[in-house]
């Protein structure tokens, strides 16, 4: 039987950070088991930017954030197995992991400790009780994201998105940039759960309406989605009769919340927390099963990957301590601090051309900016200088960073993620996308490689944000 001091289930941001932390504490015999074909987890398909501001003090895309950790894992020679699915974990004095892959078949590993880092999953249509038919064309936002960003395929042309969490907002922009028409984003709550910045840059920039206090009440189309009924909901979130509106579309994306992936935690016999919907842990992030630790989204759903990494380091360090110094009294259950949910409220029928949401800080002031007859700007509603500067820049020379993918020939995958190296004028987005869509590059590709120079005449280059090996 294979053995390891520490087995980590999942090679995403949590798994990798936990492995590195344990390594630094002196545990060298570590094995990461990853079910996908690459390390990096869900970050690989999160090709947009906004990651790493806390961790690396710079703004990275998902794949770039992942690559930083992958490089460290490689540098420390921490071993990992890809395309490997863990089907069972058992804790105790010796932990036992059962896993499967094509090369080794089904096998078991004996370990001193296990860290669960499997991440989370999306709520499905069934879980939301949306009545209607069951056609093709209903995707969770993450599934659509995988199709577009990993497979390089488009799952539809006309899209309605239910749920205005960040994944839903990001996918609204993503699908639009790739040529789809996003009809609207419906949100059952009276506020959006997404970041203000995403509402501005993913919806406002493309004129996509956000319907707060609205939900999808019926799905039409027997084979493929042909449309959805969108209705207003009352204070108790019940649809209001008479407000039904048919929206023609061929695709419904669901972005309605994430739930820790609990199969293995439950199978191990871990006590579960009804609030976090993940396992109960103590201050050392140890589950109620001896030797089994948990971190990242499998423990509770995080808002920022930076916080996942931080939590995973704690789990990795305590797991190392457990391995090196033995079991301690379990102590008290400590519920991980769940950040307050973003509640981004906006006035209905906001004129996105003049009513701006400041993205300078989390307050997100609603700023009214109007051009006066003499050409100067009248700015009101801001509560600090940042707001005025933001409004001025938005009204005169707005800029954006564009993230997308470029076709690769001869690589292990079809597309590689890219970004504009710096911001480009907002007005150049369409032209920039045209050039990105036309481009084809040859594998191998490494993070930072310049793939297009002077895109759309902006003197900004388009660079790779992920690696692609030769097939």
């Amino acid at each position: 039987m294979k053995t390891a001091d520490l087995v980590i289930v999942g090679g995403g941001p949590a798994g990798m950070a936990a492995a590195l932390a344990a390594y630094h504490k002196g545990v060298k015999d570590i094995l990461i088991l990853e079910r996908d074909r690459e390390l990096g987890g869900i970050l690989n398909q999160c090709i947009h930017n906004g990651f790493g501001l806390h961790r690396f003090q710079e703004e990275l895309t998902g794949p770039e954030y992942a690559v930083r950790y992958m490089d460290l894992v490689q540098e420390k020679n921490i071993s990992h197995m890809l395309n490997t699915m863990v089907v069972d974990v058992q804790g105790g004095e010796f932990c036992l992991i059962t896993a499967m892959n094509k090369e080794q078949g089904m096998f078991q590993i004996k370990a001193n400790a296990i860290i669960l880092a499997m991440g989370c999953r999306e709520r499905s249509r069934g879980a939301m009780n949306i009545p209607g038919y069951r056609p093709a064309g209903i995707y969770s936002a993450g599934t659509a994201q995988r199709y577009v960003n990993i497979e390089g395929r488009m799952p539809g042309k006309e899209v309605v998105i239910l749920g205005s969490g960040d994944i839903g907002l990001i996918m609204a922009r993503r699908m639009t940039l790739q040529g789809a028409k996003v009809r609207l984003v419906a949100e059952i709550m009276p506020y959006s759960g997404g970041l203000k910045r995403n509402i501005v840059q993913c919806l406002d920039d493309f004129g996509i309406p956000l319907k707060l206090s609205h939900t999808v009440t019926e799905i039409h189309g027997k084979d493929r989605v042909e449309g959805v009924t969108v209705s207003r909901v009352d204070e108790r979130l019940s649809p209001v009769p008479g407000t039904e509106q048919f929206v023609k579309c061929d695709t419904l994306l669901l972005s309605c919340g994430l739930i820790p992936e609990n199969e293995l935690s439950l199978g191990a016999g871990a006590l579960m927390d009804e609030v976090t919907q993940g396992p109960v842990v103590n201050e050392r992030l140890e589950t109620t099963v001896p030797g089994i630790f948990a971190c990242g989204n499998v423990l509770h759903v995080h808002d920022l990957v930076d916080n996942v990494s931080k939590e995973a380091e704690t789990a990795g360090a305590f797991a190392a301590e457990y391995i090196l110094h033995g079991e301690k009294e379990w102590g008290e259950a400590v519920r991980p601090k769940i950040p307050a949910k973003t509640k981004c409220t906006l006035p209905e029928d906001r004129d996105t051309g003049s009513q701006l949401i400041c993205i300078g800080c989390p307050v997100g002031c609603l700023i009214t900016a109007q051009r006066k007859e003499d050409g100067s700007l009248a700015i009101s509603g801001n509560t600090c200088g940042k707001g005025e500067a933001y409004a001025r820049s938005e009204m005169t020379a707005p800029v954006r960073t564009i993230t997308s993918m470029i076709r690769v020939e001869g690589g292990t995958g079809r597309v590689v993620p890219v970004k504009t190296k710096s911001e480009i004028p907002k007005g150049k987005i369409a032209e920039c996308m045209r050039e990105i869509k036309k481009a084809v590059v040859k594998a191998p590709v490494s993070v930072g490689d310049v793939l297009i120079e002077n895109v759309a005449g902006t003197s900004v280059s388009v660079v790779a944000t992920g690696n692609m090996r030769v097939f």
């Binding site: 395309n83 499967m100 094509k102 078949g105 069934g126 093709a136 199709y147 395929r153």
Partner: protein, 485 residues
């Protein structure tokens, strides 16, 4: 020229095909959809009724009891999931207890074995989670649960192995009397046959009316269901029915053979024959009524809802009202109806197959085959296999080590098997019904792109050609439509 053409590859059509494949006959099954088990057979309770519901002397009663008796053996011969879990009919009103006795008497008259009445005490011993209002119950130990897809696919595969041909995407558009038998028109081609078996489910009236002057009308009765996570599958171990009350026919709560919990069905007549959409009212009704049978209906554990249509005959002057219509049409020799197969059609299927085969035998007097293959092996399940079997399978084909569906632990090997076997899966729904990939709590969120990729590779088509079920059920745009970046 075929000896027999069976219209419809649902559970009845496939059971008939399988029974007829014992004989030296040239048999064709025509199916309008792209796979077997696409109509009523795919969306029902998955129950093998014990047989106390239908009135004594009816075909329903007779075939139900026979079917229920045959099902277990058949499940072993053809390797599909079946479990005799026993069923309970719950009574919530002390004044209605005599209705349980009526049911018991009827069941006994139908030949159902072992039924008895339980008081609340005994009921609690069997079902600790039973609702507080349940005062007594009828217990039928022969009640069982079955995988409706597993059963239908097994019958079809076995029939195909014994030489029955299947053509999919072949909706019967016309039926003409020919010199010797019938000419069957489909968009694919026309077929000649001596005998036609009409097993067209909710469309059986349309097929019947093509050749018979005694008109039949079927109004589909829609039944909605809620399916729950395996977490709560063991909440009940028996199938819990409710005594029909003034509020209408009851809602059942049952475990499924795969360990989920299922509640439903509603009963609503709908005008359209494809109206398998679910409704808010339906879902609310199920939840509300199921709460009588069990203490807590785990609403948050619902993983999907679905609806099926039952072929309810509303107009037909022949035969007994409310019974199945199985037999040669009075004014169309060689045309055999298998119509009005509503509940308990699934339970009856093994008996229906034999019964209809008997009718065909009388018409054609065929000889038995010497080389009939009576057994069939299903797709191995890595989730259920022993470690030894798992090792053997992976050694045989490493693809059995590649988990594609994480919720149900379905591997690439199982999916390849589902695609490669006779009448193999051509759609993701086909893969799902054969392997359970996509049946779990994430409802294919994780495995869908992977299953599409495997199907495309195996069928050697572009991924955009892969369908969920019907021709228009596409997943991704083709490169020509800008779907490939």
């Amino acid at each position: 020229m075929y000896d027999v053409i069976i219209i419809g590859a649902g559970v009845s059509g496939c059971a008939i095909a399988r029974e007829l494949s014992r004989f030296q006959l040239k048999i064709l099954v025509l199916e309008k959809e792209l796979d077997v088990c696409e109509g009523t057979s795919k969306a029902n309770s998955g129950i093998v009724h014990a047989g106390y519901d239908a009135g004594p002397g009816t075909l329903k009663a007779r075939l139900n009891v026979e079917g229920s008796r045959k099902m277990e053996t058949l499940s072993k011969e053809l390797d599909f999931p079946y479990q005799r879990n026993g069923s309970l009919v719950l009574c919530f009103d002390p004044k209605e207890k005599d209705k349980l006795w009526e049911l018991k008497e009827r069941g006994e008259a139908n030949g159902v074995e072992g039924i008895c009445i339980l008081d609340r005490q005994k009921l609690l011993e069997l079902e600790p989670n039973v609702g507080d209002a349940a005062v007594a119950a009828l217990y039928a130990p022969t009640g069982a649960i079955v995988c409706p897809f597993g059963l239908t696919i097994a019958l079809a595969e076995n029939a195909a192995e014994n030489g029955v041909e299947f053509v999919f995407g072949a909706k019967v558009q016309g039926l003409e009397k020919a010199q010797e038998g019938y000419l069957v028109h489909t968009p694919k081609q026309d077929y000649e046959t001596k005998v036609v078996v009409n097993a067209a489910g909710v469309y059986a009236d349309e097929i019947h009316n093509m050749v018979s002057g005694i008109k039949m009308k079927i109004i589909p009765r829609r039944g909605e269901y809620l399916l729950y996570d395996k977490n709560v599958g063991s909440m009940v171990s028996h199938t819990l029915f409710q005594l029909p009350t003034a509020l209408g026919k009851g809602i059942l709560v049952t475990p499924t053979v795969h360990g989920n919990l299922l509640t439903g069905p509603t009963a609503q007549d709908v005008p359209g024959k494809e109206e398998t959409d679910t409704s808010r009212e339906g879902m609310e009704r199920i939840t509300e009524r199921a709460a009588l049978s069990v203490k807590e209906v785990p609403g948050r554990q619902v993983i999907t809802s679905f609806a099926g249509l039952r072929a309810h005959i509303t107009e037909f002057s022949e035969g007994e009202a409310g019974d199945f219509v199985i037999g040669e049409a009075a004014d169309a020799a060689g045309f055999i109806d298998v119509a009005g197969i509503e509940s308990p059609g699934l339970s009856c299927a093994p008996a229906t197959g034999e019964y209809v085969a008997g009718l065909v035998k009388k018409l054609l007097e065929p000889l038995e085959k010497e080389n009939f293959i009576g057994t069939r092996k299903g797709i191995p399940s890595m989730a259920l296999a022993s470690d030894e079997e798992r090792h053997r399978l992976i050694k045989e084909n490493p693809a059995y080590g590649n988990v594609v569906c994480r919720c149900e632990t379905v591997t690439e090997g199982e999916i390849l098997d589902a695609i490669r076997r006779p009448l193999g899966a051509r759609t993701t729904d086909g893969v799902k019904r054969r392997t359970r990939a996509g049946m779990g709590r994430c409802q294919a969120g994780f495995c869908n792109p992977r299953v599409v990729e495997i199907l495309a590779r195996e069928l050697q088509v572009e991924e955009s050609q892969i369908r969920k079920s019907g021709e228009d059920a596409w997943y991704i745009l083709s490169p020509e439509e800008g779907g490939s970046l």
